[in-house]
């Protein structure tokens, strides 16, 4: 079985965006629902994620609301709460319509400067009532201004306690950037991955939470490319070896869109810490003229590597994902 642990509902029907527009105009009560039919949901997926699953031979995608639209920086905590709820409801509908193709990962109703404990009710609702298996955690709910405390700060601990209790991991994933310095998918996403990993090096978070699990997406940002730098920085800081300090709790996905990058990832990061992912339909939608294939068809790069054993590939495609997301039983 091939499980893609990183997919967002980038093709959500227009009714969702219309609802959002009215919400931000202050014309939506929290009790109203986006007007979206099951057929619209099917239409939004059949020609996109479902077609690509079939074409590329992946079986199931862990599916969460569009990352760039989490927009934790827009409106206040109540706005984020209502918006997250609607986005998660829609993901639940997708997964109910296509239980063999998608498993649900939730957006958290974070808001800049608001204690992350405020996300606990929505996380519990999603996991306990709706069967969600993970969440996306935004280390920068300000949207590119990086005003929140590092992920190792006790500020985040109540949420981590709930994640541990529920046995759900978080993918560390920012949303859009309102800082003109940072292009969202080209700079902000990758920077956030790198930043989160370095925060984890600096701290000792997993001493306090030995079973907490984070997935760093986009192949870990810059981290595997600079693995020597990170090993060396940890060493200069008198931290344990990274394999002991972080790699029992931190995982990298395979959203790296060319073969040399994937080769590097598989060369330097232990196979136990790599989870297959493509983030399709996502940041990069074109066909690579050098290969004639989609940039984000990451399975193709992995399959083409002959020095990774079938056992390790099975870990990457399936076993690790099941280990990191124990609530997934598909």
């Amino acid at each position: 079985m091939i499980i893609d642990c990183h997919g967002h509902y980038t093709t959500a029907p227009e009714g969702l965006w219309a609802w959002r527009k009215l919400q931000l105009a202050g014309q939506k009560q929290s009790s109203s629902k986006p007007g979206i039919s099951d057929q619209e949901i099917r239409d939004s997926l059949e020609g996109a994620q479902l077609r690509l699953q079939r074409e590329r031979g992946s079986d199931l995608t862990f599916f969460s609301p569009r990352a760039g639209s989490m927009e934790h920086h827009v409106g206040d905590a109540a706005v984020s709460q209502a918006w997250s709820r609607e986005c998660n409801e829609l993901i639940h509908r997708v997964c109910s319509l296509y239980p063999a193709n998608f498993a649900a990962v939730c957006q958290l109703p974070q808001s800049p400067g608001v204690p992350p404990a405020n996300c606990i009710p929505e996380l519990e609702r999603c996991v306990k009532e709706l069967g969600f298996i993970g969440c996306n955690l935004n280390p920068d709910p300000s949207g590119g201004w990086w005003k929140e405390k590092p992920l190792t700060d006790r500020w985040w601990y109540p949420l981590y306690e709930k994640m541990v209790e529920l046995d759900v991991p978080a993918m560390v994933h920012v949303s859009s950037s309102c800082n003109p310095a940072f292009h969202f998918t080209g700079a902000h996403y990758i920077n956030a991955d790198t930043t989160a990993f370095m925060q984890l090096i600096q701290g000792d978070l997993f001493k306090d939470f030995p079973t907490l699990k984070f997935v760093i997406p986009h192949g870990g940002g810059a981290v595997p490319y600079h693995w020597g730098r990170y090993r060396g920085l940890a060493q200069d800081m008198k931290k344990p070896l990274l394999k002991d300090h972080l790699l029992k709790n931190v995982y990298f996905d395979t959203c790296v869109y060319h073969k040399p990058g994937i080769e590097l990832l598989l060369k330097v990061i232990p196979a136990d810490n790599i989870l297959f992912a493509s983030e399709m339909v996502g940041a990069v939608r074109g066909i690579d003229p050098e290969t004639g294939q989609y940039y984000d068809d990451t399975r193709r790069y992995i399959d083409a590597i002959d020095w990774v054993s079938p056992a390790d590939k099975k870990k990457i495609y399936e076993d690790n994902v099941r280990r990191v997301y124990p609530r997934f039983k598909g």
Copy 2:
């Protein structure tokens, strides 16, 4: 000849830091000089950069003030001006004492929100009067808050015009971070490299400045690892191929501290766009227990690669550096 294009005076004598302390306490007139003897300069280098040059077999280092101490965010433009001048004077003394070992690259007196045109007098002084061959340009003088306009904005144009006129390139290099989210050498530096490259993809800067040259340090941040992503994003934005859009003007150094990273860099980036560098004595000072060698002994990784031709290695070690820094005649 082996030229290391990226070195900072991280071992500068105590007199410099004492001067800085008094400057920030408001007790230094702009006419005073740090009390540093030639012997102190020699002592600060003989056991460090000069010893490592000999041990590692590099001939000459492009040498600039300590990046983390540029601190453009500290004090106002006048403070930055006076501090930059003293730092650059000291680099000039180093290069005068050891003309066979060092060539001078200057710190610019940037200040947050102050038009970069204010750097022109110090750049001209360094280049025309003191023989400097390049400069370090900080895309985020706020020190981790990223409040400046992207590098493609006309805000920066007067400085670029002067760089073009003087025929000096800039290494795009941030200073320390006062944002607790960003560790300076582990996150801020690498993020800045990635961010700068993405800003250049988004813009069309080199249409306006066809001879302007930037060096992106630290192996280009995350860029080579995500080369497929960047090619794909440029394609989705209807930009030219990166080789045409940026690679006549943008270069990457080799400050990547493990062999798999260097291999990736040399695999995906054309040899014409790679400049040898180690940034020693710099961010990572330890010995890698996996190799028994210094992490930042980057020459060792390059030398060990057998699929790069001697001609390409000569480009990386010497020829490209001379092409990008035409004022260097050593």
